[in-house]
């Protein structure tokens, strides 16, 4: 077992990078080598506060002896950066969605396989304490056989490059389908077979989808629906939610992942706010990544998992455009 893992971070375009940075810094078994980001201003506070090395070019960071990198770039750059890291022999933890096309994601998975490195997709929601308990309850059969699932991952409009299709590859439907979709795939041990969806621009001026409803039928017969809309207004107490309701033959199970909160009513803010006091899911995600690499085990959430989830969002766009359901080929038939 490796005593310490050398980790570098590539791009802070996605705000989750700051949280992953904290999680990495808190670990005694991680040596955080530095940050690569073409935008120095964006990462300057972190470089200064923690005395980290800076690389303007990701290739320079990849030329060092780091074992692994965490990629939090704009969505369109996930594939080229992951392939570059794989070719440099570095393991990768990549922010979601894994990629913006099936071909791109297959290329990422293949590059990592060919170079003998691991690819993990950052789906921290698997590490929410309520989700872990829910999964255990389902596996124990507490609610019988699951027949239907309804999920929500409603959020605020993130703005910036998220609203620019040339950098994000899609709006709310891509950004917010993948988390709960991954949970559904994980809970059901099955694969989506058919997708029907609406995608629309209803809440904001930016010309990108900010509203949607994604219906999925799984191979094992389970029906599901998920709301990925950026529908939380500025007046809402928090950024958004992750909920999942499972209907089973012997009962139901409801997860409201961010219900562990205190409510605050403050005169300055003039709107209620919620202070989340539950466990950090990012700490546990980073821990899982680090321990798998140190112990030379398979990462718990693979590139294939990222693919299976993101392809549903891509199919949702196709369905919304065509106005009819879109069939998904089984993963083994599309592989390679």
């Amino acid at each position: 077992m490796k005593a310490k893992l050398k980790v570098g971070m590539i791009s802070f375009a996605h705000m989750h990078a700051a949280s992953y940075l904290q999680a990495l810094l808190a670990r005694k078994d991680v040596d955080l080598v530095g940050i690569a980001d073409e935008n120095r201003e964006r990462v300057r506070p972190f470089l200064e506060r923690y005395g980290l090395a800076y690389y303007e070019d990701a290739g320079k960071l990849l030329a060092t002896d780091v074992d692994a990198v965490v990629i939090c770039s704009e969505n369109v750059r996930h594939a080229p950066l992951t392939v570059q890291a794989a070719q440099a022999g570095k393991h990768v933890l990549c922010e979601k969605p894994l990629g913006i096309s099936e071909a791109q994601m297959r290329e990422m998975i293949e590059a990592c396989r060919a170079n003998g490195v691991q690819l993990m997709t950052a789906f921290p929601c698997r590490y929410l304490a309520s989700v872990i308990e829910a999964k255990a309850a389902v596996d124990r059969g507490d609610i019988g056989r699951i027949v239907a699932v309804k999920g929500t991952n409603r959020g605020t409009m993130p703005g910036g490059w998220f609203a620019d299709r040339s950098l994000s590859g899609g709006g709310a439907v891509l950004d917010h389908t993948v988390h709960v979709m991954d949970l559904m795939n994980w809970f059901l041990n099955s694969e989506p077979e058919e997708v029907f969806a609406y995608a629309a621009t209803l809440f904001h001026r930016e010309p990108i989808d900010d509203a949607g409803m994604v219906h999925v039928k799984f191979r094992n017969g389970v029906i599901a629906v998920l709301d990925p809309s950026w529908s939380r207004p500025a007046a809402f107490p928090t950024w958004g939610d992750v909920t999942m309701e499972l209907i089973g033959t012997k009962g139901t199970l409801f997860v409201d992942a961010f219900a562990q909160k205190n409510e605050i009513y403050n005169n300055e803010r003039m709107k209620p706010s919620w202070s989340y006091w539950g466990d950090s899911m990012d700490d546990r995600l980073i821990e899982a990544f680090v321990l798998a690499l140190r112990e030379d085990r398979s990462v718990p959430i693979t590139g294939e998992d990222g693919f299976r989830s993101a392809r549903v969002a891509l199919a949702a766009y196709a369905s919304a455009q065509q106005g009819k359901p879109v069939r998904l080929a089984p993963w083994d038939r599309t592989d390679g």
Partner: protein, 333 residues
């Protein structure tokens, strides 16, 4: 106004209690083929029980008749009452098919009587308030809505709810409340997509998820569940360009009684959460319909609205079977 009731199941008894307490109404007989049920309703409403509705109509000569029968009996009963010149308050859904609904509406029009359909959710104060807030623009332009309605599997007389040919199932019977309500908020629907999970046998359930796309662009996902093991639960959320409105039965309990005393069956009494009001929504609904009859005004929810909700429910059923979205016939160019 003299008001009679045909059908003394849960709804008939609810109507009897409310009409009995209403100044505007003179409850004039209740009828059920099951004499014990008729007696129970008569007692609750302080009126006379009948087991033959023709005898009741003859003896009581009502102005208005409430039809609280299983859905498959609505059409025949309503048409007969219309021919007898009675105004009619009919439970939802209006009927099992659009042909039935059209025949009922037409018969009432021809005979110059009013037909009201009991889409009572319009009269629930939390939903009525939501409709008003959204109409005033509190949530801005149309966005994404969620509506949920979960309850136990209904136990009608002779288990008629279990028979799809009599009740139409969970979409037609339960979700139709939310279909009507969300249509009252967003207007005409454009298309509907739906999926359903169900099982018969000893412990039956039916769960449906339906997404309605509206001409104004709004997207609404409705879920309904017969066989939910928890308490009857309703929730709704309307997200728009300027805000979010949420309501829920679980989050608006204004009274929670807990007791250390044993209940009547020897079990420890459980919490009984309530949200009491001076009048229940059925009182508001029935009073409104009687007011409409008296002054000839248009009701908050018309028989045509009931037909439109049925059309969406039927389209949702078809979508469940075909796996394809179904366009709504009322679609305007």
């Amino acid at each position: 106004m003299r008001v009679s009731i045909i059908g003394c199941g849960t709804m008939g008894i609810t109507y009897a209690k409310n009409l009995a307490s209403m100044e505007e109404a003179d409850l004039a007989g209740v009828c059920d083929i099951d004499a014990a049920r008729a007696e129970e309703a008569a007692k609750a409403g302080g009126t006379r029980a009948y087991s033959d509705y023709k005898a009741m109509l003859e003896m009581e000569n009502p102005d208005v008749v409430c039809v609280c029968l299983p859905t498959y009996l609505h059409k025949g009963t309503v048409i007969e009452l219309a021919r007898l010149g009675k105004h009619i308050i009919c439970e939802k859904p209006i009927g099992l098919t659009l042909e039935e609904a059209d025949a009922m509406i037409e018969a009432c029009r021809e005979n110059g009587v009013r037909l009201f359909v009991g889409h009572v959710v319009r009269f629930f104060p939390n939903y009525a308030d939501a409709a008003g807030q959204i109409a005033r623009g509190e949530t801005g332009g149309p966005g994404v809505a969620h509506l949920k309605r979960y309850g136990s599997y209904p136990q009608g007389n002779g288990q008629w709810y279990h028979d799809r040919n009599k009740s139409g199932g969970v979409i037609m019977d339960l979700m139709i409340h939310d279909i009507d309500f969300v249509r009252s908020v967003y207007g005409e629907a454009d298309a509907v997509y739906a999926a359903k999970a169900q099982s018969g046998g000893e412990d039956p359930f039916e769960y449906a998820m339906v997404t309605i796309h509206f001409l104004n662009g709004a997207i609404a996902n409705l879920t309904a569940y017969w066989g939910y093991p928890g308490p009857f639960t309703t929730e709704a959320e309307f997200a728009g360009s300027q805000g979010v409105l949420r309501l829920g039965s679980e989050s608006s309990r204004s009274l929670i009684v807990t007791s250390k005393e044993k209940g009547p069956e020897g079990k420890a009494a459980v919490q009984v959460p309530q949200s009491p009001m001076r009048h229940d929504p059925y009182y508001r609904e029935l009073k409104h319909f009687l007011d409409c009859i008296r002054d000839g005004s248009e009701p908050l929810v018309t028989a045509e609205d009931a037909r439109a909700a049925l059309e969406i429910a039927l389209a949702a059923e078809r979508s469940c079977q075909t796996g394809q979205p179904v366009a709504i016939g009322g679609k305007r160019a």
